[in-house]
Amino acid sequence: MSKTTILYVFRSSAWHGRSAADGLDALMASCAMELNVSALFLHDGVFIVKRGQGQEQSNTPSSQLRGSTIRPKLLSKPFAALYDFGCEHVYVCHKSLNARGLCTDDLTVEHELVSRDQIATLIDQHDEVLVF
């Protein structure tokens, strides 16, 4: 029996709730089970893999609370290492990227740009599609 194929679709930015973080956890679990895993970044999801996030680890007073630095957990690093986890394909919606003024060089992870028609094909080709 061939391996089950799973497409993880990320539609929200890393700062919009916990969708991206929870999707990443599920994706890593799928990779650990050696399933055939792909990721697609769509709509605001393209911001998850944008370069330059978290560079301003500021030490301004507003980022300090009772002596501790308020430092949100950054998702850009684990998402940049998707292939290392075992993710086999990374797709990015071309239209979503353009609509946000971004280009392929702005992203941290090697990817294949796909059109809306190709996304429809991807969804059809995978056994399971999980949207986060």
Binding site: M1, T4, R18, D22, D25, A29, M33, D127, E128, F132
Partner: protein
């Protein structure tokens, strides 16, 4: 062909929407009831991300509001439905089982009866053994 080796129609239900902030539980409950009443197999209902909020035994909706926790518990009693909650999602939202309460020295558990805390591997096992995955967000 999806899961060609799985002969019988069976479902895994994934709930990711919060108990109050979305219609996820109402829709998932309607789907589960319809499936079970038609004799279909529901392998697991997995509550992930915001979905874990429904497993809090101390939720007290008003009398004329949907009490999703109680409705899920009813299905669990009537059909032996597997109600599994992602342990990480649950603990982030203050839903703790007896073991977690003990481990973290928290006074009392609040995991609703009938629900069990599991890891993502159990969800994958259910998903892979079902012909259909239904997600309610």
């Amino acid at each position: 062909m999806k899961h060609s080796s799985i002969q019988q129609e069976s479902f895994t239900i994934l709930v990711t929407g919060s108990v109050l902030g979305s219609q996820a539980n109402e829709s998932a409950l309607r789907f589960a009831i319809a499936a079970l009443e038609q004799g279909k197999s529901v392998k697991q209902v997995f509550f992930y991300s915001e979905g874990a909020s429904v497993a809090n035994s101390k939720l007290l909706p008003l009398a004329d509001e949907l009490h999703a926790t109680k409705l899920w518990q009813g299905l669990q009693r009537d059909y032996g439905l597997d109600l599994s909650v992602c342990i990480a999602s649950a603990e982030r939202r203050g839903v703790v089982g007896a073991q977690s309460a003990d481990d973290h020295q928290i006074d009392g558990q609040n995991l609703a009866d009938g629900f069990s805390v599991v890891g993502l591997a159990q969800f994958h096992n259910a998903m892979l053994s079902s012909s259909h995955l239904m997600r309610f967000a």
